[in-house]
């Protein structure tokens, strides 16, 4: 039974990823591009859980969504989640925040506890670049 379920799952996921890869003409990024979280730093304890996130980008520029230009992208913040599929649109939900208006800072509010934060750059269609540009994943604690 378990094996059957696994095969069914595999069958369900396979065509989707093949399809996405077939469409993929991912936007190139310069190999030396770096995205990073300026603030908070890893291990920061945040009282109250409300803070301004500062997003840093090196050797590349910021452009709003929908803008097709060389060497630009816009920030996405991954909260308490892993990196998504790199050949598809970055999901848009409470764990994947889009900054499609070209923001480089954002007001974030998190409930008490430990949280992970990670930045991932997306192109004009919210798809990660080739190579994908993402930051290290940091942990912050809200109390």
């Amino acid at each position: 039974m378990r094996q059957l379920l696994m095969i069914a799952l595999l069958a369900a996921t396979l065509p989707a990823s093949t399809l996405a890869r077939a469409q993929a003409a991912r936007t190139p990024a310069p190999p030396n591009a770096v995205v990073y979280i300026i603030w908070p730093s890893n291990g920061t304890v945040i009282d109250g859980g409300r803070f301004w996130l500062r997003m840093g980008l090196r050797n590349m520029g910021v452009a709003p969504k929908g803008v097709k230009m060389a060497n630009v992208g816009h920030h996405h913040l991954l909260v308490d989640t892993e990196l998504p599929a790199m050949d598809q649109q970055i999901p848009n939900d409470r764990n994947h925040l889009h900054f499609g208006a070209g923001e480089t800072e954002a007001r974030i509010e998190l409930p008490p506890g430990k949280h992970t934060l990670q930045l991932l750059l997306g192109d004009q269609d919210h798809v990660p670049h080739e190579p994908p540009i993402y930051s290290g994943r940091i942990t912050v604690t809200v109390r």
Binding site: G61, V67, G102
Partner: protein
Amino acid sequence: MHRRLFMAAIAGAAAAAAGAGHAGETPSAPDTWLYIGWPQDGSTVTANKPFRVWFGLRNMGIAPKGVKYPNTGHHHLLIDVGLPPLDQEIPSDRNHLHFGAGETETMLELSPGRHTLQLLMGDDRHIPHNPPVASKKITVVAK
């Protein structure tokens, strides 16, 4: 003689103040905050050696030159110079660096001595917004 000079200075200041009343046509949000994240005001840097300057912008987004998108602009770094006329295209020379590719940080090298740094946002045509979005002018000493 002194007095005449003084009067001339007042007239000059009045003219500058009147000039500052002008602005471009692209609106900016009143709560926008532009600042130099690094270096800090009054800090010392090593002369003739590149150091990183990062640009902070709150409640506004980044768009490269030529891109018209609501509540965005691109950074200009003014070095050793006052604010230019705020209703015209920001000059492009060694005292006025343009970041029209949507950059949010840069490497800068300064000759020995005191220097001032200030950020000024420009719209898709490099003209300051209305009201203009400028950072505090900071001083750094290159040694």
